[in-house]
Every structure is written in structure tokens, then in C-alpha cells.
Subunit: 327 residues, 6 copies
């Protein structure tokens, strides 16, 4: 989890005399979203043992996430600077996360068997093993413990090209990790970069091609899900949930999102929505619509995390998309 610093409203970095602060990160966003959905969730990470680290921990607590396993120590809190886009102007992220407390974690400090005791689901993202050899090792140990304990494992493959700087290639690290997962969020670009699977150019359904190949390559894998984002402008996207499992391919209804308040964390909200739906034993079609609606609603909240309740997501999933005032 990082602190995000953004110039207010539509201002540029060049103009900023103050920055709005939010906290967020792939796995943390999923935990927070689940907590708002009423699912008990914990986040495992490492924050620096300073005031910024405590503020990060307090953010998780405020949102109802269990922080019992958060460690405090190490050099600094990862940051990212985010400039909002507008109309045809893209938003911009300047990452400033190198050398964070999380980068420098010691894998031996996490006793995964204890952490995962009584847990039903474990989720990780491809950002963690990309950060440092130590983080990748911690991820490896966590997956190993999760598999041993029979916990359902999901991953968001999430390739970031400006990470992966510690020497290992994305695919050599990610493939064995993905091999231990039950469900992944993955689109063709991530599959290419991290999992050595590339749909042929001009394939009519690259997601389906990819998903079929992934299922073959990783026998434990049961589901591959993703969102397709059609970008009309920085303020207007269309979102569709994609779903592949043994029963084949399925797409959700497409949701129009305009205006977008904050698009960061949309994928994490999708993942959290899907986890919630599975834990509630929703049928697949409904689970996919729920996850997609969750992701769409995330775009209407400032910050990285989804604050929507299950009731709000269900209302949208059931077609209540006109935004009429609730008195």
C-alpha cells in the first residue's frame, strides 16, 4: 500500500501548491472493499515505523481491515503522485516507491501458517513479486502455506513495466506463482508479459485464446476473469466484465461510467466483488455482474478503494443505473 498524492481537481503537478492524500495498493484495495462488503479481511504488509506508516495502518483500520499482521519497520512509505486527466488529456502517475519498507521486508518475518489460520481466501497481485526478490520470496512462501492449508488463492497478474528491476524476469517469477492459484485476473497484455502466452495477431477473441492456453498451462487454475475498459475519454469509460472457466466464456453487461470521479482501483474493486460473490455462493453470471458493478461504482468514489456496500452494488447490478437521488 502506498500513499497517493494528487494535485486538487484537474490541476497539473506544475501548478500544485497542495496535494490530496489517499492510501491504496492492489491487495489493500481488495481488503478494504471486502470489509465494506461485510467480509472480514486482513491485510499483510510492512509499513515504516514512522508517522506516515502509522497513518497508513490507521487508514486500513478505519475501513475495518484487520491489521494484526502488519509489520512496522524499514526505510520509507511507498508513494505515488497522480495527476488527474481530463477529456482527452490522460491522467499521469509518477511512481516514487523504490526503497520502501515493503521492498526491504524480510520474508522470514512472516509466519504464513499462523497468518493464514482459519482463512478462506488468499489474494495477491503481480506487483508484489515485481518489487524485490524479498517480496517475491514472501509471496512464494505465502502461496506455499495457502496451498498446504487448502485455501482458495486468487491473483491479479497486473504487470507494471517500471518495476521488475531486481534482475529476475517477470515470467520466470510469475509462472510458478500463478501455477498455485485457483483464479486469476489477467488480460492478454499481462499474459504476454508475465506468463509467456500471446494470442495470435488478429485473433478475434484474444481473451478466450489466452484463457484456454492458461487453463492448459496451469492445471490448478479454474477461473480467469478480467475487465475490458473502453475509454471514450479520461472522464468517460465503458466497463465490461470477462469470465472464463470450464463452462466457457461469458461477458457481463457493459456499464457506462461518466463522469469518472477516480478510476484508480477499478480492477481491485472488480476482484473484491468477485471474491464476495463467490463467498456468498452467487451463480457465475450473477457473480460476474456483481463484480463488474462493483468495479463501475468504484469509479464514482475519490481515492483508491471501493466504498460501495453490497446493497448499492446489487441495485446497480439490477439495472438501477440512473443515479436518482435517494431521500
Amino acid at each position: 500500500m502506498m500513499m497517493r498524492l494528487s494535485p486538487p481537481a484537474s490541476g497539473r503537478f506544475f501548478q500544485a501548491t497542495s496535494f490530496d492524500a489517499h492510501f491504496g495498493g492492489g491487495e489493500a484495495n481488495v481488503s478494504v472493499s471486502l470489509a465494506h462488503l461485510g467480509i472480514s479481511s486482513a491485510h499483510v504488509t510492512r509499513f515504516p515505523d514512522n508517522e506516515l506508516g502509522y497513518a497508513a495502518g490507521a487508514f486500513l483500520k478505519k475501513h475495518g481491515v484487520d491489521t494484526r499482521f502488519v509489520q512496522y519497520g524499514g526505510p520509507r512509505l511507498g508513494l505515488y503522485f497522480f495527476e488527474n486527466g481530463s477529456a482527452m488529456r490522460p491522467g499521469k502517475v509518477v511512481y516514487d516507491r523504490a526503497g520502501s519498507a515493503f521492498d526491504c521486508l524480510n520474508p522470514d518475518d512472516f509466519n504464513w501458517e499462523k497468518i493464514l489460520e482459519g482463512v478462506r481466501w488468499f489474494h495477491w497481485t503481480g506487483i508484489t513479486p515485481a518489487i524485490s526478490a524479498a517480496a517475491a520470496e514472501a509471496c512464494r512462501q505465502a502461496l506455499s502455506a495457502a496451498n498446504k492449508l487448502g485455501i482458495y488463492v486468487s491473483a491479479d497478474v497486473n504487470f507494471r513495466k517500471n518495476l521488475w528491476r531486481y534482475g529476475a524476469s517477470a515470467s520466470e517469477v510469475m509462472e510458478p506463482l500463478v501455477a498455485q492459484c485457483d483464479l486469476i485476473v489477467c488480460g492478454p497484455p499481462e499474459a504476454t508479459e508475465c506468463l509467456n502466452i500471446t494470442p495470435p495477431v488478429n485473433d478475434a477473441h484474444p481473451f478466450i485464446f489466452m484463457a484456454e492456453q492458461l487453463m492448459k498451462k496451469f492445471p490448478k487454475l479454474k477461473k480467469i476473469i478480467a475487465t475490458r475498459r473502453d475509454s471514450v475519454s479520461a472522464n468517460h469509460n465503458r466497463l465490461t466484465g470477462l469470465h472464463y472457466d470450464e463452462s466457457g466464456y461469458m461477458e457481463s453487461a457493459t456499464i457506462e461510467i461518466t463522469p469518472i470521479v477516480d478510476r484508480i482501483g477499478g480492477g481491485d474493486a472488480f476482484m473484491a466483488g468477485y471474491i464476495y460473490a463467490m463467498l456468498k455462493n452467487m451463480p457465475i453470471r450473477q457473480a460476474l455482474e456483481f463484480a463488474t458493478a462493483a468495479s463501475a461504482l468504484k469509479h464514482t468514489f475519490p481515492g483508491d478503494v471501493n466504498l460501495a456496500t453490497a446493497e448499492e452494488i446489487e441495485a446497480l447490478m439490477n439495472g438501477n443505473n440512473t443515479g436518482r437521488l435517494i431521500r
Copy 2:
């Protein structure tokens, strides 16, 4: 009139560290809008005799409303908390108005014959008699005085299901009050809840059906008007004015409103626009277009009240809807 407290911009209540404050309320919004249109108007109410009550009174004064008949006393100022919606996410209102100074008014404190001396028009809304038996009684006395003095009376029927808690049913109170009106703002849902008139399911024109029945039921009634709000999203609505009188049914042109800055008070701006138009003797068609344009412009101002001038409303009514900069 209440104080409205809103998290800034698109934030949730959960995230708020400050609240933007506005003042508003059905009848007050009409008074303020008329004052901005250059019509001399007074608001009669009761505020608590404390700093928040004085601020409420000062708000009316600032906007040019005559506050001579405002009483100060009683327990508290009514509040409501309003969270802006965004895209498909609905805005939310959390009312906190129970036990207000207005609820606890003493009907005998208002000498309506004196208050209404020299007045041309009296307007009230269905929120007032819904609040408490005392408020309903004050309303009854006001209407009686207005009728005695031959003053034109309008009402916005305005049903709020979370009010009406003092024992009386909406219809038993509202029917005799509406019977004393010349004009009402009313749509089928309000007619059902408050006036015991329900268009048959699948009626092609429920508004027309309702209006015909209302005219029959309430012989004094000369006009029934309303707006139809087609909600594309929380930020994008389409607004049409509806009008029924002895000459039959009429609709205004539909106005596209996107983005909406603040949709609260749209109905009150419509009413104020129509009152203005009648006081200026506009032909019916023009009056309806003026009222609809007034309501549409309201959506572009932060706060509950319409700040548009007659000149601005006329420009929009005459088709100048492109928002081109005026230098």
C-alpha cells in the same frame, strides 16, 4: 428551511472531514428565487433563537427575502446531510429535522391576516403539514386567511414518506388543504399518496388522467403543473414541464442538463418561475417554458436556491442553451 451539510465534491459521508453548508427548504427556495427575479417576497417560518437560527435568517436577508415574519424560538434548526451522487451512483439524503424549531411552532403565534396584508400570492408545500400537527394547523389557518383575502394560492404537494409521523395520514390532512388552492405542483405519485387519486396501471398519460380527476375533485383548482425528470445519470437529467388547465394538457420543450451541479431545489425553482410568469402575465405556453428553463438553470448552481435572473432564464427559454461565454 434547513441547513444542508454536504461532503465536498464527490466524497462520501464516510470520507468527510468537512461539510459544505447551504440553506434551503421548499417554501424558502421559492421565496429566494422570486427575490432574484425581482419579485418582492417574504418567508414565514420559525428558527431557533441561537446562532444557527440567526445565520438562517441572514441567508434569507442576503438573498433579498423579507424576514419580518420569521419567529425565533424553539429547540433546534432542522438539518439534512446530502451526499452528492456521481454517474450511476445516486445522491443520498440523511434527514435530521425531527424536533426542529419549526416542528414545535405555536400556530397562534402567526397572525395570518396581518402577515398576508397586501399580498398577491401565497405558496406552501406538502412538507409543512407533514412535519407536525402544529405545522399543519398553521398551514390551515394561513390558507383560510388567504382565501378570505382573495389571495391566489399555490402548493407543491411534495410527499415525503419519512415525515407524516404525528398520527394523521397524508391524505386526510392534504385533501382539505389542496381544496383551497388555485394551482398545485403534483405528479401521479404525490396524487396517489396524498390525494387518493391513482391513474390506472398502464394508463398512457397518467399525468393527464390525474389532472382531470384532480380538477373534478377540487373545484377551486385551476392549474396542475409538474416537471418530468428523465434521469440518465446522477449528473445528467432531461427536464420537461407539464401543464394542465381548463384548456387541456401542454408540455414544454425538454431541456438537457449535463453536467448537473446541484439538483436540489429544481422543483422549487420551477414553481417560482411559474409564479413569476403569472405575475408578469405571460401567456401560458411562455409561462411553462419560463418555469422549465428556471428549473433547468437551478441545476447549474451549488445550493438549494435558484440564483438565475429573469434575463438569464429568458435567454435559455429562447433557445440560447449553448453555454457560450459572455464577455
Copy 3:
């Protein structure tokens, strides 16, 4: 250059308890935009010798504009108050620039041959000679020096009807000045007001008619450019670049701009984009697309000046208009 004072967000002047401050002005906006494009540029003007004047100078410095030739003296800084429009509600400008330090400049204080030494391009706008006889005289002397030194001269004809109060008519002043230009930004309304050229009513292509006449009337003139702004609402415009030279008429692709963050300075960004393109020897078609894209991007930045880099403008010009986040 003036200071702009705006109520925050969508508020009215009537509601403002604070004003956001920006600096801007026709010529200054062009200088700043060129500086952000990496072109060395200087701005010549006069600010009052007080803290507001120094702040204005510092604004130019911050944006990389050479302020060596700025003079400090005279009564006051020109201001304008700007209320943002929303949806169908127009934005409003209240100018408060009379009696500024710039109005009262002494033409003899500017040694144009020295100022223009080594310069490749000189740009002025029709606002300068409209302000005062002294400003018009300074403009005349500058053009004379520029012509003597063989510098390329452009002008934005820019008619403001609430200026031109010092006795001279717009056309008697502007015609001899435009006669010394190589390129002008001018549309039919400006040509009518300032240059005595009016396309016939119902002419199918008034811009082309006007341009042909201008080329005849002003033999030095080589290019006439302009933007066509199609206004859907205060928040949604469509922008097209228009171009006329000896090779005839050309239009750029039309760019959809929604939502508009700030439309002030769009024309100046267009001019700066075109200057940049010519200095970089872009072919005409590309230059026009670049200038139009520059202008469109300006609409996404708060303030009067264009903060876009050449790389960002090129991306848009090359069709990258979906506003997808750049990580």
C-alpha cells in the same frame, strides 16, 4: 496580462467568499505556451510597481518566459472576474482593467530595436491597440521595428467591444497594423469589426470569403488562421482549426472537448501551437493539426495558459484522444 479572479468550482459571484487567482492575457498566454513547448520566448509589457505587479512578473518567470523587458510602474494591475459556466449556463466575464499600468504606458519607454534584436517572431493581439492611444502607439512602433528587422509578425485580431474607448475606431487603428503582418488569427466577426470586410449574408463559406478579401487587401499577409468553436454546452465544445493561405483553404479534424476544465486562452494556445509548428518547419497540414490539438488540450488545464508539452500535443494530434492513464 491581467489577474483573473474566479469563484471556486461552479459558484456564482453572488456566492463567492474567495476567489481563485490566475494570470493571463492574449500575448502572455502565447509566450507561456511557447515556453512550455521549449521555445525561448519573451513578453513585453508593463506591470504596476507593487506586490501584485511583482507576482504577475513571477508568474511569467515560473513558466520560463523571459521578463527582461517588462517595465514596472503606473497605477494598477488589470483584473478580470470570471464566473465559470455550467451546462447551458454561460460563463461570465466582468472586466476590471481600465486604468491599468499597461493602459498608461509611455511608448517611448520601449526601445523596440533592442528588444527585438535576434528575434525570429513577433506576436501581438488586437486587445493592445484597443486599450489606449499609448498602447496602440507602442504597438505601431513595435511593428515598424519588427518589419525593419525582417521579423515574422503575427496578430490575433481579437475584437473586444467593451474596449476601444479612447476615441479611435477599431478599423482605423487595426488596418494599418494588420497591413504589417505575415499571419493573422481572424474570423468573420473580427474582420467585420476591425478590418471592414464582411462576408455577404448567407455566404456558404464566410471564412473563405473573408480570407480571400483579406489577402487582397493586405498584400504582406500570407496566412489567415482561426478556430471554429461549436458549443454544445459550457462544458462541451467541438473545436476545428481553419487555415487559409496561397494554396487555399484547409480544415483540421474536429476535436471533441468534454468536459472542459477551463476554456479561457484556447485561441492563444492555438496561436502558440501554430508558431511552434512553423518554427519547427512542420508541413501546413501537420501545423494546423498541431495548433488545433494544442488549443484543445488547453481546455483541460485550469488557468489561462496552455501547459501542454509538444509530446502531449503530438500524441493527441496522432489520434491518442482516449485519455487513458499513463503509468
Copy 4:
């Protein structure tokens, strides 16, 4: 009355990206303060017929001042820019009031006999006749009418050296005006500049010397009052009320003011306090203490006007100066 624009908190003009807006002016501040004390008061002035002028009028209305006699017309609203001081750093005012609607008023537009009908007290300040010959003339006519109607007249002599630019000297204008007053606020510097009375160097009590001379020179004059401000720092002043009348000289208790929230308008609050005390027939000693306490409390409110109630001022006057929380 002008609009005041200030950088937030302790920032410099050089740093400002927004300005806090307040309204204020010598006479207006007195009217507003009286309205908060429950005294019916009206302000007579001229604002421009634009949105800024209406906002100025609305400010007066909000504070309960009668604006019936405010005229709308003329070029611009007077402004002043105010940078807060801090510790040993002085606050700074940059006036920008030349050419205001008030400067350019037409004295014939004010029918003083009608305006002053039924009025008990008329107050003016030395700023008005300093602004323009027209404003001085309006002042002259107002005083003449007030004297004719037997209204008590007070003036704050208030010398501003950067005004008085229309050709007349301060003393030639002010002397005949002061001759028509019953009470003035005046200290030795103003007496020197405007009334040709200068205490000898090293006089032990220059205020007493001055007051004696003024009483001799202006036979109508009954009282001379002033405040002595002992400045420890920009945030810490000590305030003492001075009083001279036929019964001789009197000083109020000294009030310690730290921290100062906003020192602008302290003199006007003193004047308003004294007017209130006289209208309430307080004994002189009490009146002086009340006026001084009123002035001191003004320093604790942001903006130019005193928002204190009579009850609050009396509490302070009675020694309740510890600022203990009132629950």
C-alpha cells in the same frame, strides 16, 4: 464600501493562488456593526450595476443593513488587497479603488432630505470627501440636510494620504464639513493633516491639546473621541479609548488583544459602539468603555465588520476578558 482580497492565512501576495474576499469600508462597517447591535441602520452609497455590485449589496442585506438608498451604476467596485502581517512583519494594503462607481457618483442622484427622513444619527468619514469632488459634494449636501433636519452628526476624520488626488487639499474640504458635526473621531495626526491643528512637539497630552483646540475652532462640536493603539506586534495590540467633551478628558481601561484575528475596521467598531451607547443613553464613562470593548472584539473576527452582539460587548466591558468557553 470595497471588496477586500487577502491571501489566505499568513501568505504573501507573491505566494497567493487564491484570495479570501470580504467587504468593508468606513461608513459601511459602522452600519453593519450597528445592525448587529440591534440598531436599525441604512447605508447610502453607489455600487456598479454588475454582479460584484450586487454581491456588495447582498453583503449589507445579509448583515441586516437597509440598502434602500444604494444606487447601482458606474464603472467598477473599489477593491483593496490586504496581506496579513505576522509578528514583527507589518500587514500591507494595496488600494485599488480609483475609478470606482462611488468615485463617479452624481451628487444630484441623492435626495438627502428624503433619505434622512426620520433618522436620528448621520455618520460619515473623511474617506468620502477625499475620493472625488463629486463625493465631497454629496457629503456636503448630506451634512446640510442633516443639519437642517436636526440630526446628530458624527464623522471619522480618517486621513488617507494616497487619496485627495482631485486637486483640493484635505483641510480646505474637511474644515467646513467638520464644522457641521456634533462628534468626531480624530487623533493628532488627522487633526494636523485635515484640520490645521497641530499639538506642539513634546506636548505631554497631544490629544487633549488637539481636542481643546478643535472645540474652540468648531463650536458645534461636542465630543472628540479616538482610540490609542499600542502595537506590540502585528498580532498583539493594546487598545485604549480616548474621550473629550465639555467635562474634560477621559480614558477607558486598556484592553490587551492577542492574538489579533483581523485588525481592519477596529476604528469603525469603536464608532459604532459609541453611537449605540449614546442611543441607549449610557453614561459617558460606560459609553467609552462599551465603544472600546466593541473595538477590541472586532479584532477577533475575520473581515472588516464587527459581528459582536451588545451582550458580548457588555460582558467584555464588565471584565469578562478571559475567553472561557461558553457551553
Copy 5:
């Protein structure tokens, strides 16, 4: 716990266009402060089952307080409006807490033996039984359970005259409750109002007199503590801790607090500091100094709760009171 709404900085209610929001309340402030001191603490209360209630709960979670026993239900969240004082101007509180969810709690909903299982200390304040008969009953049951379980009990006697409206007198309710306490925070005014003990007029040490009497009257009582606040101004107080037990009377060193950032919650911080000190087995003298330093530090944080760490409080207690920057 209530939500506090304050005009920003030194503004009056009359001027507010927004309110800063904080959460706080006697018992809640103690819990939060203890959590920041590293002591595990829980808060037992009732919030409404709406977004404001959830925000209140999230506030406690963020600060590390256990919210397991918070109930959600009932009408509204208690509010209070707080205007900051400045210099000699007092701050003002406008309470708006009548009819809150807490007022309307059902005492049977709290299973105190379960809630208090494993607990070492129970703290309550005199505000709770003052609010409603139901709240008083809940308090009674809690104390009974606490006594049964042998838990140390403290109370802040805390008299608020605008509460106690449900028919019972303060003393008839408070005396039996205080009889079950081991330690109370109480000064002479509270003893008079709630416990029928009034020091003789002109008693040299009214606190000592009161404490002696209290010890006699309530045999279970072992300690009476309080703070003495010497108010120089709203921004400058001097704070001294008072302590009485079997070994007699003791005073802490006096701490100068200037400027005060926020004085609300100073007493609660004192109580929390004393609880911490006792749980850490500090000697009495040290415990009193620690509690007083904790209270003093509270005055430097915006909001109702003390954010100081034990390390910071100890530094101050050890004389490090110069506020030197820590790099």
C-alpha cells in the same frame, strides 16, 4: 460520542459556508487517547444505523479503539456546533444532541458482564446519566457489573446544566453512581451540582475541602483528581493537575499553553493520562504530572481527542517544553 461542526479558523457561525467535522465525546475521547498510548481500549455506545453512524464508528476504529460493542440503531447522531474563541472572545458551543441514538438506547441491549469480561478498568462520565433515564439505567447496570467483576471504576463527574431534562435531578442520580467508583474527576462546581457538597464561601482550598468531604461520603472512593485551568485568554491557558487521596493533597507543575489549538477534550486527556499512568504503575507524583502533561498536549491538536504518544507526554513531563523542532 457526537460529531462536532466548527466554522474554519476563527470564523463565526454567522460567516460559515463550511464546517470542519470532528468526532468526540467524554468517554470516547478517553478510549481514543488510551489507544494512542498503546493501551487496548473499547468504547460502548449506540450510533444511528446510517452513514453518519458508520462514520462515527470508523473514527473510533481508525484510532485503534475496539468497537465490537457499539450498537447501530435509533434516530440520529448527536451533534454539537463549536465556534472557536479568540483572544478575549470566548468560544461557543451550541449543542444539538437531543433525540440522539444514544438518548434512546435500550439498557437491556447491553450485556455488561460479557462486555466487561477480562477488563481492568471501566470509565464513565456524568454526561451519560444526564442524557436520558435509559442512559442512566445503562450506566447503573454497567457499574453494577463492573463492581461485581472487581473492575476499577473511574468517572468524570462533568456537570452540564443544559442536560438533565428527563425529570431526575443530577444529585439523586449521580450520588449512587459515584458511590460505586474508585476514582473521580471532580471540582467544586461539579460537587455542588451533582454530589451535594459545597465548600464554604471563601474557603482557602475549596478543592481540598470538597475532596475530604467526598472521601467521607463515598467510602469506596480512593482518589479525586481534577485540573485547574487559569484562563488568560481563549488562546492562552495555564493548566495544573490536582490530586487528592489518602496521602493528602498534591498539585502538579503548572503548564503554560499558548497558543491553544483546540481546548475541547482537555479533561478527557487528563483522565486517560491518569489511567495510563496507573496501569503502568507510575508513582502518584509522576502519574499526576503525566496526566497533566497529557492534557496540556491535547490542547495542541485539532479535534476532541489526544493524539500524543506516551513518549511525547513523557518528554513534556520531563521539562522538554520548548517546542524545538525534531528532525
Copy 6:
């Protein structure tokens, strides 16, 4: 130069939802201050080649500093988080500067002989060589070039214990660098840590002892200056300038600073004031008073840099310390 991020007003890191941004750093603050004093100054550093780096450069430009020699490249912009102190609560700095673009500079990228061409004065601080071996080497080369060119060299010895992590000890690096200086800012703690000179315990005048030893140890050194800061609270300091040269020891008048707006950069403002005074050939006594007044005024501006003009500093130096409003 770093970006500083601070919670607004007196808030804690724990409470921050936004951060105010400023730029500052030892040497940069001196350059900016000199530019505001009218002295032409340049800053040599390295910023990252991203939007934050450009914003840092623009900050220097805005303040009139020559940025010709700033390099753009490398990983990140150094940051520091600063929490304001209040009363007895200390301010806190959390540095986050490791791995900055400046740390990773390449000494060979700076051609010092060219950079220093025509320069009269070169200033550096002990922070630079503390950051990295590369920065220390750049410093060494700069000093060598400055000495070769006969440029006056000053240094602020400025020991920061959380730097110096690259293996070298402070004294082994600093001693040879200080040996090349003409003037240093240094107090006993820095002399102990960096220059191996420690006044005996209980020495009556440790600064004098230290200065004498330094003069002996470093023959080139002509002046040792420093400020003594007596801290009453985080908001109230007393500042005295100390001065030692061949003529012996001298102290400035002590300046009371309350309230402090922002104490960061006080030492840099002192240095800049002294450089200005020497370049203007002020006598030593006056130079010291000027430098001390400059430093005191810095405390009244938000941000790291001194915005005072020479005129303002002189006014204070001449005893005008009452902060009286300048109209």
C-alpha cells in the same frame, strides 16, 4: 532542494487528508532569498527528469533564481514531511530524501569553471557532502574551482545526523572542505560533529572558544557566524546573531519572534542576509543586524524561503518591529 509536504495548519500526520507543498533546501533557500534582495543568483543542482523535477525548477525560476545549471535526470525528487509544532509540542520532520536525483549525481556532469565564471560568491552547506560520495566529490570540485577563480566561499556547516550514511565520517569529509572557505555558519554542536572542535564543558562562551579554535585550524577562514535560538515554545523564539572575526566577538540585538509562521529556513535567511550585506559593503555591525533581521522575518513567511525585501529587513533592523499596518 526538496519538496516539503505538511499537514495543513496544526494537524498531525495522522490526521492529514492533504498536504501543503513547498520547495526548499539549504543552498536553494539562500539563492532564493538573495534573488528577492535583488542580487543575481544561480542554483546548481540535479532534479529528476519528471514533472516533479520541472515543478522544482519552476519554483526557482518564479523566485528569480538562474536555473541554467540545473541538471535533469536520475531517480526521484527528495522529499520531507513536516508537521507543524504548536505551543510546547515540537514540530517534526520525517525525511524521505534517500535515493534522490541529487544523491545520484555524476560529479563529472558539472563544469565548475564554466559555472563559476564571473561569479563573486559561492555558497554550499554541509548537507551536500553528507548525502553521497558523489555529492561530496562535486562539492570538492566546486570548491577547488572557486578557490582557483578567487571567489569568496561560504558554507553552512549544518550537521544532520541521519545523513552521512555512505561510509565516510563527517569530519574527514568536512574538514578539507571547510579549509577552503572564507566564512562559515557554525555553532558548537556542528563544530564538534564535523570539525573535531569541542568547547570544554561549562565554558562560559562556547561559541567564542570554538571560533578561536576554528580560526587557528583553518587559516583561510575569516569569519564565523551563527544564530542563537532561544525557544520559548514552538510558536515563540528569540533570535540573536553571533559573529566572530579577527576583530573579535559581536552579538546582534535579540529579536522576539511570536507567533512564528514557519521556522524552516531561518538559518539560510541569515546566511543570505549576511551575503547581501557584505556584497553591499555594510559595516560588520550593520551586516550582522541585517542578517539577523532577515532571519527573523523569514519566520513570518510560510515555506522554506525568505520573501523579505531589503527595504523590509532594513526597517526591522532599524527598530520598526511593531508590525503596524502599512497602507
